[in-house]
Symmetry: C2
Subunit: 343 residues, 2 copies
């Protein structure tokens, strides 16, 4: 038999408003794969956003999604079994898996006629404000971006780990007094130097530090976690659900991203598990369209911090959905993930 | 303003098919409170089943539910906030809180036109078979009950902690070779004697031992957990979500009951947390009607073991819903919790 539903994929290249430079890489575009899961006249939208340094690509995501045999899943509501099955098709491929998870959830929410935040009983008004991310730039560029972003955000996320970390912070402090979040992207190496830097950052209105050391340096991270005056948040070091219990004592919090953890189903469990284990949580994103951001925004009331500015960094967003309201990324009231094709 | 919905409660006394005797108490009835939450012409059913030794009663449950100000909750879909709010009204009262949680979920599922197992993406066919519980009786009575239960169940749960534990097991073994689960209800005192007993039970086709020692004896339980040839499952020692991380190293698994943990929302998180922490999980129950059992059955695919025979022990069940199919308690296909008033 042929499956009563179809899966369509479209490679798409996101153009970034600003060149995006972090400790480990620099780029002006992000490849993403847009997915449509259709059945009974209902279309679920999904997306796989794939920053090159994470190893997935249009080719790998298309190849993975082509392996999903939809005919094996006559009942779309059996998501636990379906998504476990898809996850087991091949290791890795988290963004491709997330694209399918998001599209399936969008389809299910539309059939139930509810946005997922309502299905999950969450209040979007309780979502934490998002930070706005600023890559590594010369001071004058950073100041211009901060000025542009202006009063729309409650905090900025600064990418450090470059040559001029303190200069970067000082140049921002010349033009803004907003709370700052620092993301080192594993860019530091020495734990003592890292602690010194964090102690200084604590005097500069910084509220947290993300992945200061390489994820492999677990002992150094635990040492830092025991001493840091600021919360240390794991990003590269915390990918999937199984990583959450291991994060206790190594990080104070975790950064959950749909593109790392294979989608909404696992992300929700990770956020609830983190809270139960006394870890703080950030709901983050890649540079992605309003499709994946709208999906993530469904879960934001489960997080202590959100960093869902991904679509705001994109110049050619093909979707509308979650919007920035009073510093928060608020999902639309539409069913499913609440995203629609931009017309 | 008055709330657009109403909450009705009805005290009800469950008559048990057999006198129910465990290590700590004996009775022929169980008080339960039946709840109806009505809004927009949709009625959600809930129940608070209250074995006397747990401290709740018709009076305490009615008094607690009377404190819920429904006018404060104009949007029933904001369950996370509503249930946190209700939980904070007073400490304890887990069964009364569960009655409200179950009724609210039933109402929401009916509005979404889906049974909760589908909303949660779970496959009822993956539910583990239930055990059938046998209280402490003279050998001839035990043998009669086992014979009556016959081939309908995949395992029996035996209440030990009395005078004649081994005699009890031997008398069952004369008439049945089914796997047995042993529930001591904190009835043993000495850890060395407990280990000896468990080592003997392991030779008698017993698959797990529930709460062998008092919940306060955490060190003894951890000692036993490190040595027992059979999985040790915490029941009295694991009530709420916060107890789950503490169960690691003290128990091999946890028994999750709606009446202990305030309902479906927290039970689901406890089951997922247990799995993530490497704990095994049992979804259990009190003697309760097919209302609360049908609610619990929505979650059974999340558990490693189920013990959902509560309604089968009741002679005057006012509801129909989940039914025993091939040894499993399978939820109905009806929306919400899938329970209906018996006509």
């Amino acid at each position: 038999m042929t499956a009563p539903w179809s899966l369509r994929v479209r490679p798409f290249t996101l153009e970034l408003r600003h060149r995006f430079t972090i400790a480990t890489s620099s780029r002006t575009t992000t490849p993403t794969l847009l997915v449509e899961l259709e059945r009974d006249g209902v279309i679920g939208f999904g997306e796989a956003a794939m920053p090159p340094y994470l190893g997935e690509s249009h080719a790998t995501a298309q190849a993975f999604l082509a392996r999903i045999d939809l005919a094996r899943y006559p009942d779309p509501f059996l998501t636990a079994a379906i998504l476990a099955d898809v996850d087991a098709l091949a290791p890795g491929n988290p963004a491709a898996k997330a694209a399918f998870d998001i599209a399936l959830h969008d389809w299910l929410g539309k059939v139930m006629r509810q946005p997922w935040h309502r299905v999950l009983g969450l209040d979007p008004r309780r979502a934490p404000p998002t930070s706005f991310t600023i890559g590594i730039h010369p001071p004058d560029v950073v100041q211009r971006i901060v000025a542009e972003a202006g009063a729309r955000f409650a905090s900025f996320k600064i990418k450090l780990g470059g040559e001029h970390d303190r200069e970067m912070i000082r140049s921002i402090r010349e033009v803004s007094s907003l709370p700052l979040r620092v993301d080192v992207n594993q860019g530091w190496r020495d734990r003592h130097a890292a602690l010194q830097q964090i102690e200084w950052l604590a005097t500069q209105g910084v509220e947290l530090v993300e992945q200061p050391l390489p994820k492999e340096n677990v002992d150094d991270l635990a040492w830092l976690c025991a001493r840091s005056p600021l919360p240390i948040v794991g990003d590269a070091g915390v990918q999937r659900l199984a990583d959450v219990p291991r994060a206790v004592g190594v990080y104070h919090g975790i950064n959950v991203k749909l593109m790392k953890c294979t989608g909404l189903r696992e992300a929700r469990t990770m956020l609830e598990l983190a809270r139960a284990l006394g870890l703080r949580s950030m709901l983050g994103c890649m540079t992605e369209t309003s499709c994946a951001i709208s999906a993530a925004a469904q879960l934001s009331p489960l997080a202590d911090w959100t960093d869902l500015d991904g679509a705001l960094l994109v110049a050619n967003d093909p979707f509308v959905g979650a919007t920035l309201v009073d510093g928060r990324i608020v999902p639309s009231a539409s069913p499913g993930i609440g995203a629609a094709v931009r017309t």
